[in-house]
Symmetry: C2
Subunit: 301 residues, 2 copies
Amino acid sequence: MKLTILGCHSATPLKNAHTTSQVLEIKGHLFLIDCGEGTQIQLRNRGIKFSRIKHIFISHLHGDHFYGLVGLVSTFRLLGRTADLHVYGPKGIKEIISLQLKLANSWTNYKLFFHELDNKSSEVIFEEDSLLVKTIPLDHRVYTNGFLFEEKTGLRRLIKEKIDEYNIQQHHFQNLKLGKDIQLEGGQLLKNEAATSDPHPIKKYAFCSDTSYNEAIVPLINEVDLLYHEATFLEAHQNLAKTTKHSTAAEAAQIAKKAKVKHLLLGHFSSRYADKQDFLKEACPIYEPVSLAEDGKEMNI
Amino acid sequence: MKLTILGCHSATPLKNAHTTSQVLEIKGHLFLIDCGEGTQIQLRNRGIKFSRIKHIFISHLHGDHFYGLVGLVSTFRLLGRTADLHVYGPKGIKEIISLQLKLANSWTNYKLFFHELDNKSSEVIFEEDSLLVKTIPLDHRVYTNGFLFEEKTGLRRLIKEKIDEYNIQQHHFQNLKLGKDIQLEGGQLLKNEAATSDPHPIKKYAFCSDTSYNEAIVPLINEVDLLYHEATFLEAHQNLAKTTKHSTAAEAAQIAKKAKVKHLLLGHFSSRYADKQDFLKEACPIYEPVSLAEDGKEMNI
């Protein structure tokens, strides 16, 4: 898994501070998470091929998380896209995009599927053999979901030396990978563990923005490899965080600690703070390791 | 009058090629003309005070001319704006913006007036003592207006030497400025022309984008000081210009010539052309003076 931050700032885009958008490379997919104004330019800046994006996940309908979507949908058409596009987001997102296409007397020359969400409990919204995506219901001023991207446990791995030692024939490989014991050509039963090792450990990435401090998400994000959690404010503005249903850096760290995540990534910073290091200073005493998101930052998970 | 080009490229925004938006400084106003995605960042790049923008004119509902509007409207609120905002644009623009504010559970803390246009004839849409704005109906794939920004003829100007020579008292000044003859204190009649000169010449700016070649606009833009006319294509793609209802550089020059405009400014370039000088090469033989729009370019009219 590889995460690329396209934008990690709150409220309004500035020249060098883009609003929320991320690209997650996972099992051959390139998932776009949120799509603030100007995301299509950020994609170009990072040299990301537009055609590889087939699934877009939108957390909520505040502008700094989706005002770039309609432009991207339009640009896909202008680029001659034919591949299907799936958009997952709150109920209403289809009406917003469709209305603008209709009034522009425009259309998409590819199939555009909207998967509108209104469930207040976590649900699986995307699944295939090797991965699934679940919603993480968040507590914000409007209906909002975070997203959990979770690899599925893969096949057991053949141990090359054991394969040679027991002279195991190729037609046994699939059963071994599936965890089955096999009968060797000489009639001897071979226990699976003798020739295989555990599957690659699975990875999990949780995206949680925007949200107030909300312990209800802890079981959903338990022990994830990376948690992106919003930290709009510092402790000095804790009251503002409460009234606007955002989090402070310390609150994000509390959630990370309770969920025993492996790494915390803070983002969605308010532009009022000149020195972003203050977010680290407030989070570190509560939880480590912790990093700050930056536009353009890449992280291997 | 001063024109600032924020973006002059067609279709989709690129890192260094912004879609259509302009700021016109005229008689103390700062008018925003069209508002492609990322316009608010361009405004910041140019150091333009957001609070000075009170009137926004939108030509048509294709994304490269208005996808930045909803973000700007939202940012105005976040900046604590209280002044009224007037948006002039095609019918439907109110529904698009209102729907997005409603679904975001948001609002504006200033009065937002939509002046929706559906008239196919030219009409005055803004007027005050010193200037007026008229629509220029254009021929594009959707309902589209250009805009004519026109100063009104001002007052006659007092000639200081003559005022002194005839010892004209101050209470006569207003009548002189209004073009009236006056009776001097000695009883002598003084013809207006003896003590005044003509008013400052009025200036006119016409914005015409997007449109196919359309001679119907010629009477409306006759002898304007500056004509911004779209030139999406070069002659090599004349057929494409026809089918998409855009213009070539040569067609824009033909319109400028027929309307005897004082200066032609080409814009709305397709990104397919690496060398923008080719637009000049095709326009110059037909009409001069002609310039190319550039993002960030400023022109005193």
